[in-house]
Amino acid sequence: MTAVQTQARTSNVQQQKRRRGLSDRAIINLFIWPTLLLLILWNAFPLFYSLFLSFTEYSAIARKEPVWVGLANYQDILTDPQMWKYFATTGRYALVTVGMQTLLGFGLALLVREKFKGSGLITTLILIPMMLSPVVVGLFWKLIYNPAFGFFNYLIMQTTPGKAPDMLAGTIARTPVPNLALWAVALVDIWMWTPFVMLLALSGLKAIPDYLYEAAVIDRASSWFQFRRITLPQVAPLLMIAVLFRTIEAFKGFDLVMGMTGGGPGDQTELIAVNLYRQAFQGQFRTGHASALAYIILIIIIAISNLYIRYLNGLREEG
């Protein structure tokens, strides 16, 4: 059924209903405005105030009024090669973590899709990593990765002192390995947030009516065909929402990394959001500069989200 037909049919019914109960217009206003109003009230001031600050030289801890500097903060950030490096690191991190979370989450959802004895309990248990506070998770993995008394090295059976890896320092046998620390942090992110994707994919899978598969089986369609033509398109809208929110978080999240490495060793795990936190709340409290950086991040997130949403709407129209 196309969208146009759907609308035509709803409005048909709507016309008949107009006299009974609230009018549709009243219902729309009643349903939407409380949400919009809250969102506007809570976001307008922070949004515009930080936009203003992004054009100023200002520190939240200094007792000085913001000084207008125009585009200097933006220019500063965009011409700093160091910043571009942080953006590149964030891009790689987002690609790997969101990619793996999607693959593993969807795979897990396919596995737990059919009920078995105790599947309710098992699913609850699988969701546990997501239920923990990111700050605590960061701290705890620091303990787990610890080369002297952590469990991780025992798990991969590399415990010889001097030869064992120190994941968060990014070294194996005291020799630095490029990006090792970044992937160690990414592993924790994947561990923690795969359940998020799994739960959404699972509810998408559960909404697929059985008769589609039955028809496919009667037509002797291969399981690959069933997956490609039924499962994937039907689950895609919810899966895309999960991917969208995970991507946004990958660009914003700093708490896991702050807990584990604080951006180190060197600047290996210095994600753009970690750097933002550092500028905003450490050392000089460069509030104006940090606001400008936040706006650059916001623009990137908006661009990526738009791409996703366009793709998502494309899927909806096909389906």
Binding site: S11, N12, L36, L139, F151, Y211, L238
Partner: protein
């Protein structure tokens, strides 16, 4: 409309057993699948297992190398978490322990055996209560508001729908780090600093974008035909929502409850900035245990474990909704 009546709503809806799911081969695959899932779950839970063990270890056992799998369990972590303590001279501690231990509570005995005396309950107890109220109420708010907004966006031709939906999503995009300072100023101005109302509304606002988007995704999946039939039969729109859409959207609602609760329960940065005492939640408290003379791993583990349990219970109670399939999906096309 017309084709809807040609199909006719009179046919009973039959929940079928999938024809391809009863053969012995399918059964065997089913068992293998269950085994794989359980194995993966166990593997994912290893870090949680480590955390649970650490919660029952003493300070020195928690950082022993190699990590101890077998150890003498102690409640030290929990005692440190829930109480304020003062050091007592070892001789005095021994004397107290030896004298008449029946007077001493379990917690007091544990504290004494590590050379400390309980002086009172810690802040943690009150903070846990704050967390319960703030996270609970804000979750209800965001799910209720989100459900109605999502319904309107899904079913009506709202003017500027795509832009409004994008606006709702965009409220989640600005990094929290820069929002905290303007929010702090705003909250101080309006007397919302360190209040329940302030934190509840803040978390509601934060969760609304996910709630609206998720619930719209779920409501979009519910066939229009049921509501139309109900409306034609004389239900008002509101009745149709409560009797038809709400029960069908339970999976989505359960998922939204879980996500909103997890966020509000664990939120750290805003809580640290916008509360000081009255409305402070537990996460900043757990993190500040770092500061006091070396990392108290067992107290942090105990705190995290205890803090995990309420959410885990809610998820477990909602599991049937989360895992439920469509109840009648036969009209989809």
């Amino acid at each position: 409309m017309s084709d809807f009546y040609e199909v006719g709503p009179a046919e009973p809806v039959v929940i079928s057993t999938r024809v391809d799911k009863v053969s012995p081969k399918a059964r065997r695959e089913h068992n293998v699948r269950a085994a794989i899932v359980i194995a993966i779950a166990m593997f994912c839970l290893l870090p949680i297992f480590v955390m649970s063990m650490t919660a029952f270890k003493t300070r020195s056992d928690a950082v022993s190398a190699p990590p101890k799998l077998l150890f003498k369990p102690t409640l030290e972590g929990f005692v440190f978490l829930f109480t304020e303590r003062a050091l007592v001279p070892p001789a005095r501690a021994q004397e107290l322990l030896a004298s008449d231990t029946t007077d001493l509570s379990l917690f007091e005995r544990v504290a004494l055996s590590s050379g400390q005396e309980i002086t009172g309950p810690s802040d943690y107890v009150g903070r846990l209560k704050n967390s319960l109220i703030i996270a609970g109420v804000s979750t209800i708010f965001s799910v209720v508001l989100g459900f109605f907004a999502a319904y309107a966006f899904s079913r009506f031709d709202v003017p500027g729908k795509d832009d409004l939906m994008f606006f709702i999503l965009s409220t989640r995009m600005l990094p929290a780090v820069v929002v905290t300072i303007p929010l702090f100023l705003m909250y101080r101005q309006f007397g919302l600093h360190d209040t329940y109302q302030g934190m509840i509304l803040l978390y509601t606002v934060f969760n609304l974008s996910l709630a609206v988007w998720l619930l719209k995704g779920f409501i979009d999946e519910i066939p229009l035909e049921y509501e139309e039939a109900a409306l034609v039969d004389g239900y008002s729109r509101i009745q149709a929502i409560f009797k038809i859409v709400l029960p069908q959207a339970m999976t989505g609602i359960a998922a939204t409850v879980v996500f909103s609760l997890i966020f509000a329960w664990n939120e750290y940065a805003f809580a640290l900035m916008l509360t000081s005492d009255k409305a402070r939640t537990a996460p900043p408290t757990i993190a500040t245990m770092l500061g006091r003379g070396g990392i108290e791993w067992s107290a942090i583990a105990a705190g995290s474990l205890g803090f995990l349990i309420p959410v885990a219970i809610v998820v477990f109670l909602l599991r049937d909704y989360l895992l439920r399939g469509v109840t009648f999906g036969a009209v989809r096309r």
